[in-house]
Amino acid sequence: MQKPIIELRSISKAFGSVQANKNISLKVKSGTIHGIVGENGAGKSTLMSILYGFYKADRGDIIINGQAAVISDSQDAIGLGIGMVFQHFKLIENFSVLENIVLGAETGALIEPSLQNARKILTTLAREYELHVDPDSLISDLNVGMLQRIEILKALYRQAEILILDEPTGVLTPSEAEHLFRILRNLKNEGKTIILITHKLKEIMNVTDTVSVMRQGEMTETLSTKNTNPEQLAELMVGRKVLLRVNKNKAKPRKSVLKCSNLNYSDAQGINRLKNISFDLREGEILGIAGVAGNGQSELLEVLSGIKSTNGEIELKGETIPLFGKMSNPYNRRNSGVSHVPEDRQKLGLIMEYSAWENMAFGYHRNPEYKNKKFFMHNSHLKSQTSDRMKKFDIRPSDLNILAKSFSGGNQQKLVLAREIEQNPDVLIVGQPTRGVDIGAIEFIHKRLIELRDSGKAILLISVELDEILSLSDRIMVLFDGQIMGERLAANTDEKELGLLMAGIT
């Protein structure tokens, strides 16, 4: 029996009063691809960060290649042949590719020799593993798929034998993800060990040999991938049976309520982010906009919600609304009947330092219902309203004085949703509604969106999770490079077809 190359024994780690890892034991065999699944907050990233020396475990042992290892910082881990590709890239934007690769692994006091050395090694690596990059280009000029390649090259440059990847496909098109998996299989064939952290069950089934499931800081089970399936994995992740697709009735769309024509938006750097966007949104339907992050989704949300101005025309309930100038702002847009659940609830949707009740008026705080005499806010009304809504949306803990930052991701999202839905908008635009949200809350949020649709409202759903788009939408459009690539009925399309459109292939 092959000895494991990595063994973790009884690893525990707490952050303050939160126990992120509880007594975790894990064995990974050399030359395999091992997956680690779990919901957000299950502790996967923490565990791997400990292996990489980014954090130090409170208790437990790490054994690499049969020998006890002390990993007190990433230098130790790198010395042991461990490399990690993080979810959010750790690159310097205005440095070149070479400078980024060499940073921290320089060969002397002057940088020139280090750069020359790196250039040579990069050429070799590119040949061996299909990892082609231009060594002199600036990071800020490269696309996301390229950046990930550079992160992998960084690890290989430091002679990593064990490669950890944390949620690598979040920013890739399906075909880019396939290319990544090809690279990973090549690496495996060269004898490298790969650990893949992901919440996407399909990827686990696709590329891993073995998989471990984590739940709430504990290691639940480790299985051989060919002996399991997504449903079993989901159940292990959550602890109960999980509905992977939402049940919904057929949509009964009525008249058009939001009509966009030729929206053209360029950002502060002058780059054209939205190119001639035109679509029609009707009452009683969910229009899903699919696409890999960075293709104009965020800009589309900003333009529709009034945060940014744009060229073109938008008709709301038959009336043209102003798209630039003083009258084009989120406050007026809300008054016109457009509510917005933003992509980033912590950065945009909520004030983390405000309590739940203070957040309930956020964006609507100038409305007459919250007015008390001329300048004051009607706090008592706001508080009782919050209390009711927290019950209705099952937000826990149900204390309206708790600060937003103390709620879990799912409950924070429900707060935002409660606020936006209960304003009874004609149009609800939603960005990444279930990002960083536990499965229980995902089910709740999906159900509420369907309910909203069935009550005759119009929903524009923007999400990078293709499953979510396919599950919820009635019609689907794909955004690629700021353009609408195509429109399909959800019932008549599938991931493969959408994947091609997402990659710009019509």
């Binding site: 100038r366 919250y370 103390s406």
Partner: protein, 364 residues
């Protein structure tokens, strides 16, 4: 997860930070060859031991309350207004112009007009850096510091060349007419039979400062504008999402802040000096920063902190009189308070959190 209960966050941390600042100050006093305990005794006697001392303590506290509120309200919008000194200086100009240009029949009318004058001038001095920050991205910290220097130069020029009465060699305005003299605490308290030092400068402006304190609290936590200011301070990106204009908040907040700092002039220029002199603000704008940090930018905390600093200032004056410790000691204490309450709060917070977790685990 909030590890520390609210009272620990708002009261305990600044309290411990201030104690550390005082201890270090005590060590410095030892190092320059004086006895910190006897220095403290002298300070307490001089500042709190008589109504004369209290009169001065409350007079200074009034100054610091105005400037402390000014810095606090800017802090709520995450703006660092270091320009309180300059705003207080120009506020003095406003007061002087009002008091000297019109024959006021009664001090109450003069006070209202002078208040508006002070606030208007102070607001303008806060408006310019605010506008530059909002529209041009100029760092408000540096611009407000620059405006302090510019205000001093402006005051210098005006006092020497414009306001100086003919025949006087003193760079100062003429004395304000008697009708503008404000009632001191001595006069106010004697109306209800309480004896109070006649010589101390504490005056009716102390009551106005307390009123301002209350009004700032109402503004921040009960009005829509306050809701927007605090939201913007916490997250300007979220504020944009909510339709709150960042330019509007920056400009309005700084104008209110400048107005509050400028309003200080009714106390020192109109209430005490009864004319405008060079360097009239005497560092009160800077002490306002320490007061705001110590009071955690909460109006009530600022009130307590300003009384503490009033005590320090008066105590420091007594020290300078009776020992060889110069008044600059107060600047050192002020610096240490700013350092420990504003930048080193984690020094206190982290061990405190560990203590709370330890006791919580013990009880669990």
């Amino acid at each position: 997860m909030n590890i520390l209960p609210k009272w620990a966050e708002l009261v305990l941390i600044p309290l411990i930070s201030v104690c550390i600042a005082f201890v270090i100050s005590g060590i410095i006093i030892v190092l320059i060859g004086e006895n910190p305990i006897s220095a403290l005794k002298l300070m307490i006697d001089g500042a709190l031991g008589s109504s004369y001392g209290w009169g001065y303590t409350l007079y200074y506290a009034t100054n610091f309350l105005f400037t402390g509120l000014a810095v606090s309200i800017a802090f709520h919008a995450k703006l660092f207004n270091i320009g309180g000194e300059g705003q207080a200086t120009v506020g003095g100009l406003g007061v002087a112009i009002v008091c000297l240009s019109f024959p006021w029949p009664h001090w109450s009318v003069a006070l209202i007009a002078a208040s508006f004058g002070a606030m208007a001038f102070g607001a303008i001095w806060g408006l310019i850096p605010a506008y530059l920050q909002a529209k041009r991205g100029s760092h408000i910290v540096i611009t407000t510091i620059m405006f302090n220097f510019i205000a001093a130069a402006l005051l210098n020029y005006l006092l020497v060349n414009v306001f100086r009465p003919d025949g006087s060699m003193d760079p100062a305005t003429a004395k304000f007419p008697d009708q503008t003299n404000l009632p001191t605490l001595h006069e106010i308290l004697s109306l209800i039979g309480i004896p109070f030092s006649k010589a101390a400068p504490a005056n009716v402006c102390f009551l106005i400062a307390i009123l301002s304190c209350f009004l700032v609290w109402v503004l921040l936590w009960r009005t829509r504008l306050g809701y927007e200011i605090r939201a913007f301070g916490h997250s300007d990106s979220a504020a944009e999402y909510a339709g709150i204009s960042s330019s509007k908040i920056i400009i309005v907040t700084m104008m209110i802040s400048g107005a509050l700092a400028g309003l200080m002039a009714i106390n020192n220029v109109m209430g005490e000096a009864e004319r405008l002199v060079m360097n009239s603000a005497e560092g009160a704008g800077f002490i306002g920063i320490a007061v705001a940090l110590m009071g955690r930018s909460h109006p009530f905390g600022v009130l307590l902190a300003s009384i503490l600093f009033g005590f320090l200032y008066q105590g420091g004056a007594e020290l300078a009189l009776w020992t060889s410790i110069p008044r600059e000691l107060i600047v050192v204490i002020q610096a240490l308070v700013i350092l420990f309450t504003g930048a080193l709060d984690n020094l206190v917070r982290i061990p405190l959190e560990k203590t709370f977790i330890y006791f919580r685990k013990g009880n669990a």
